[in-house]
């Protein structure tokens, strides 16, 4: 990997972490674990379309790990790591199918996969099948939040391409 790519990945990771921490300050009106905007995933979706698979994995892994350290909730690390893993496993093949006019769909599917991974982890940890009752709410919120972050990433990619920065 060239130094330039490494530096860009580092800057993107820092950006994602800043967005992640700022988002923590926004009060969450929905009292259900797992529902959030996930604004940091704008960076993930952007990276998905501009970097190689391994580089995207590194970015997401570092962001999830450092995010959990910064917000001081290591229990949440397990859930977000499982969500991120499933999300990456699904989206890295899917990015070849979804073209750059439909990146919002990548946001939606990524968010839903993330919620699915989180839910699976929570089910395994708590051994409580009743948790599944949250899943429909997670699907709805994941679709809406993913649509938003996906659209943001789509606009960013289009603007950057127009101004000649990849």
């Amino acid at each position: 990997m060239s130094v330039k790519r490494l530096a860009r990945l580092g800057v993107l990771t820092a950006l994602a972490l800043i967005i992640f921490i700022v988002e923590l300050q926004i009060p969450n009106p929905f009292p259900i674990p797992g529902i959030k905007l996930g604004l940091a995933n704008i960076i993930t979706v952007y990276a998905l379309y501009r970097f190689r698979a391994g580089e995207v994995c590194m970015l997401v892994f570092v962001r999830v790990l450092l995010g959990a350290v910064f917000c001081g909730n290591l229990m949440a690390l397990l859930y977000s790591a499982c969500g991120a893993f499933l999300c990456l496993a699904g989206m890295i093949p899917l990015r070849r199918i979804i073209d750059e006019k439909h990146i919002w769909a990548a946001g939606v599917l990524g968010a839903v996969l993330h919620n699915t991974g989180q839910m699976a982890a929570a089910l395994l940890v708590t051994k409580t099948p009743a948790l599944l009752m949250y899943y429909p709410f997670l699907l709805v919120s994941g679709c809406l939040a993913g649509l938003f972050t996906g659209l943001c990433a789509q606009l960013v990619l289009a603007r950057l391409a127009k101004s000649g920065i990849s």
Binding site: P33, P129, L131, M133, L138
Partner: protein, 121 residues
């Protein structure tokens, strides 16, 4: 063509979520409540006869304080970072248990999946 399939999948997931949410929200309340800590039922309470009470449930050194009042149940306070269980307020729907993920505490109406457990055992 592939793009259309992707869009359809997104729409289908969203529709499934909306239908599922409606089903969960419309499920009626029941009388019997199970308090489950780390997968084990520690207390079963009949809310229609239960006296007002405050008790604590401990897991891994952290406690959740559960309050029963006027035939309703909620988590009054919790020693966890996010306090999601406290913000959920009173237990309202049989399909929506109160959950504290860090302390592995679940409060749910008993009939909601008691039947499934009985069959699977």
């Amino acid at each position: 063509m592939k793009q259309k399939i992707i869009i359809l999948v997104c729409a289908a997931i969203f529709a499934a979520g909306v239908i599922g949410s409606a089903w969960v929200l419309l499920s009626p309340k029941k009388n019997t409540v199970n308090v489950i800590s780390d997968g084990k039922t520690v207390r079963t309470i009949d809310l229609s006869t239960a006296a007002d009470e405050v008790f604590t449930v401990e897991y891994g050194g952290k406690t959740n304080t559960v309050e029963i009042k006027d035939g309703r149940i909620r988590v009054q306070s919790a020693e966890c970072p996010d306090k999601t269980c406290v913000h959920m307020g009173w237990l309202e729907s049989s399909a929506m248990p109160i959950v504290c993920l860090p302390n592995r505490l679940v409060i749910e109406f008993a009939d909601a999946d008691g039947g499934v457990d009985a069959i699977s055992e």
